[in-house]
């Protein structure tokens, strides 16, 4: 194991997103604040409570999760694709680093960005609407687990993508729609039966309801099912990203 190499790459990945915090940290905080103000305060006049929770409070865990997973995904995906396109990847591939070490460092970087973003939105919630957090360790642990899963998925996408267009397609046509349809702004109990059934196939539905349970104590899905879904996604995406890195697919000729 090349521990110094691994630690160096982690420092590089974390330093990379921290050096451009205006692009990587602040937007999530600002957009979540805007969602709370625009959606929450205006719609709360008309939708008083969902599952016994005030509307603004109800949407906050979903916003935390959306910010977390989109940041975790885009960090690893864009960093990997950027390194490929700007000829930086050969520096790593010619160094005595294993595929596991490279993948692990990237995932840590992405997971940390997702985690920090999730944490910032929690602060926004606490500051703006005095959001209570029922299970703080459960909340932090769940955010980190989901960050790890989606950072791994992002790494996989970054390795397989050839252009920025490929990444944008994944983000715009899959990740964002699945996040919005995962129940950020509504409870799936408000949907017709067929739409509820479709929601059960959306993995992000379980992520949103998992975090909603740890923060508010209410959830559409069984909290254990949410936890296991996050765990399974973490395992599958981590292994896939590491195996693809080891194989050199789309990275080595």
């Amino acid at each position: 194991m090349n521990w110094i190499g691994l630690w160096t790459l982690i420092k590089r990945e974390v330093g990379r997103f921290l050096s451009v915090y205006k692009q990587t940290i602040l937007p999530g905080v600002i957009s979540s604040g805007l969602y709370i103000v625009v959606f929450g305060f205006t719609l709360e006049q008309r939708i008083s409570e969902i599952n016994g929770v005030p509307y603004t409070l109800f949407i906050l865990p979903g916003l935390i999760m959306m910010t977390t997973l989109s940041n975790a995904t885009s960090n690893t995906a864009s960093s990997m694709l950027q390194m490929k396109l700007l000829q930086q990847l050969p520096d790593l591939l010619t160094a005595p680093l294993s595929g596991f070490e490279i993948s692990f460092a990237y995932i840590v970087g992405g997971a940390l960005r997702g985690f920090i973003n999730g944490l910032m939105v929690i602060f926004v919630g606490v500051l703006l609407i005095d959001m209570p957090v029922q299970n703080i360790w459960g909340t932090l642990g769940f955010i980190f687990l989901v960050s790890w899963a989606f950072a791994s998925m992002g790494l996989l996408l970054g390795q397989l993508a050839d252009t920025w267009d490929h990444l944008a397609t994944m983000q715009n046509f899959f990740l964002t729609p699945l996040s919005f349809l995962g129940g950020i702004f509504y409870s799936i109990k408000m949907l017709p039966d067929w739409a509820q059934t479709i929601s059960y196939f959306n993995p992000i539905y379980y992520m949103i309801n998992g975090i909603r349970h740890t923060i508010l104590g209410v959830s559409d899905s069984d909290p254990m099912v949410s936890f296991f879904m996050a765990l399974i996604m973490t395992i599958i995406f981590s292994l896939s990203a590491m195996l693809v890195m080891k194989s050199g697919k789309k990275i080595k000729l």
């Binding site: 521990w3 110094i4 990379r16 930086q88 520096d91 160094a95 680093l97 294993s98």
Partner: protein, 308 residues
């Protein structure tokens, strides 16, 4: 006899249906300055990319210091520093930081890397620019940074892929001197180039590669003695398309207005070539006759110029 620094045997690589390497065999001894000379697309970069782990080999063996470059990749990569032909770009960090990262990838902590990094920044004339981003450096500085990056972990073996491609004459001579210094320090150097002069001046041993095969290997002197013919170099006042049919019976290389002919007997060939060019209404600026060089060897082996 000591273990060869680099040993390549029967190396083959295809991309889709294109055979990039057709059984390459090379042996480079420790401390040797070795040149891999060939035109663009000959297989030089593919060979070194396989050695350094950027490209997967199809068949054959690639060993560094006696160890397999795939199975024992940690060992082999830690002995090699590579300066790639393509310049990398990093938007985020100053160049000094990038050198510390590079040292870290090779398992060297910052505190141990500092003397080597300071020395390299100084030698490459980059000390004043150490807090600049790569995009703020000139092309020549980027090339020097690329070399500094290859040397940051003080490797025994240095692989340089076209290190002077696209650099001005002054920098080229400066880099050549630095490579000579590294060689005299006992480093093994594998240099790929399509500049014949570079190979002739620097390398102790040269392999000529074309279409994925090593055509000939030896010291520049051996090669020119065995295969070289004398050379006639003619500078024209301007290029004219009618030159091509006019000289169709001769084998020559052309770079802009410079023509180089490899001939057995310059005394008898020179008047005929001049007569032929003059008969086509093409103005000759100057004529030089020279003894055999690697350029003539290359022409003899491949029937074409290195830049054609």
């Amino acid at each position: 006899m000591s273990t060869p620094a680099i040993q390549i045997s029967g190396l083959k690589k295809s991309y889709d249906n294109v055979h990039a390497l057709n059984g390459v065999n090379i042996q480079i001894e420790q401390g040797q300055f070795f040149g891999l000379l060939g035109p663009n697309g000959a297989g030089k970069t593919t060979t070194i990319n396989i050695l350094t782990g950027l490209v997967r080999r199809d068949t054959g063996e690639t060993n560094i210091m006696g160890k397999d470059t795939v199975k024992d990749y940690r060992f082999t990569r830690s002995h090699v520093g590579i300066a790639a032909q393509e310049l990398s770009v990093d938007w985020f960090f100053p160049i000094e930081k990038l050198l510390y990262f590079q040292a870290g990838y090779y398992g060297i902590p910052a505190i141990k890397a500092k003397p080597q990094i300071d020395q390299l920044l100084d030698r490459m004339g980059l000390m004043e620019k150490k807090n600049s981003r790569l995009r703020q450096l000139s092309g020549g500085m980027k090339r020097r940074f690329q070399l500094a990056k290859a040397l940051v972990h003080d490797p025994n073996i240095i692989i340089l892929d076209e290190p002077t491609a696209g650099v001005d004459v002054e920098l080229r001579h400066d880099l050549w001197q630095y490579l000579r210094d590294l060689h005299s320090d006992g480093k093994t150097i594998l240099l790929t180039t399509h500049y014949i002069e570079e190979a002739e001046l620097l390398c102790e041993k040269v392999a000529i590669i074309d279409a994925g095969k090593i055509l000939k290997e030896g010291t520049p002197k051996e090669l020119t003695r065995e295969l070289g013919q004398s050379g006639i170099t003619i500078h024209l006042s301007g290029y004219d398309k009618k030159l091509i049919p006019c000289l169709s019976e001769y084998t020559y290389t052309q770079e802009k207005n410079r023509l180089h002919f490899s001939v057995d007997d310059p005394d008898s060939s020179l008047p005929n070539i001049i007569k032929q060019i003059s008969s086509c209404d093409i103005h000759i600026q100057s004529v030089e006759s020279s003894s055999s060089s690697l350029e003539d060897v290359f022409l003899h082996l491949t029937g074409k110029g290195i830049n054609q």
